[in-house]
């Protein structure tokens, strides 16, 4: 489905820019018609995906960019986050809610992303890096 409204952000891999992307994601979610609580959930999911792209994808190398495409669709919202990293196996990350991992100080980003949107897809493209697509549908009825 063609995007009705789309905004593309391209940022250097700097953690301090995460707030800016979070705010943009919340605003686009508002335009798409999501409730305040869902706006925050979407903002948090995008935030975590961008943090992953900056830290793990691009290794916080500010010369490498993260592209974020926010699209209002007929059904809700789609967000694509592209980094320039070597990719990773999302299924290979430890479960942070397992008893042995509860006291780990990192590793909860994917859990939050998956909890706050309907669909998460990972697509590694050789030579381009990892693209993460998040989708969230508006509730109907």
């Amino acid at each position: 489905m063609a995007a009705e409204t789309s905004v593309k952000l391209v940022i250097p891999s700097r953690v301090r820019l995460v707030d800016l992307v979070h705010s943009a994601a919340e605003k686009i979610a508002e335009i798409a018609g999501f409730s305040d609580d869902e706006m925050l959930n979407i903002g948090l999911a995008v935030r975590e995906a961008v943090i992953n792209a900056i830290k793990h994808g691009n290794g916080e190398d500010a010369s490498k960019e993260v592209e974020i495409l926010l699209e209002v669709t007929g059904r809700g919202l789609r967000v694509r986050i592209q980094d320039g990293g070597a990719g990773f196996d999302p299924e290979g990350t430890p479960d942070p809610t397992a008893e042995d991992n509860l006291l780990q100080t990192s590793g909860r980003g994917l859990l939050l992303i998956r909890a706050f949107v309907d669909d998460v897809r990972f697509n590694y493209k050789q030579g381009r890096g990892m693209e993460v697509t998040l989708e969230k549908a508006l509730k109907t009825g």
């Binding site: 935030r47 943090i51 780990q104």
Partner: protein, 111 residues
């Protein structure tokens, strides 16, 4: 994020407000708790009533504070997590790790 520390008996109550997120709130939380531990106090109650949300870095820092206090034979407990913060603690199963209270007096006598 802003923090203010009240010393009540042997418990340091840290009133936090804002968001605990990467690069800012997480660092502020780490510094606030470290100052308390460095001053020789190790029983810490984090008042989360005015914290709007945390991200994974903020949640990780909460766990790091818990571990640092534990290393000094102390403890970190939570007071009044807001709706979204409570949801995040539940989602990450950290409600199983942290003692959480709704009433400050009840929290204080638990240390």
């Amino acid at each position: 994020m802003k923090s203010n520390v009240r010393q009540i008996g042997h418990v340091s109550v840290v009133d936090l407000s804002g968001k605990i997120t990467i690069g800012e709130g997480d660092v502020a939380l780490r510094n606030a708790v470290q100052e308390i531990l460095d001053a020789g106090n190790q029983h810490i109650l984090l008042n989360l009533e005015k914290v709007s949300y945390m991200d994974s870095a903020g949640i990780g820092e909460l766990v790091a504070c818990y571990k640092r206090a534990k290393e000094k034979e102390g403890s970190v407990k939570l007071l009044n997590p807001s709706g979204k913060v409570y949801d995040l603690l539940s989602l990450t199963k950290l409600e199983e790790v942290f003692d959480t209270f709704k009433d400050e007096k009840e929290a204080l006598v638990s240390f």
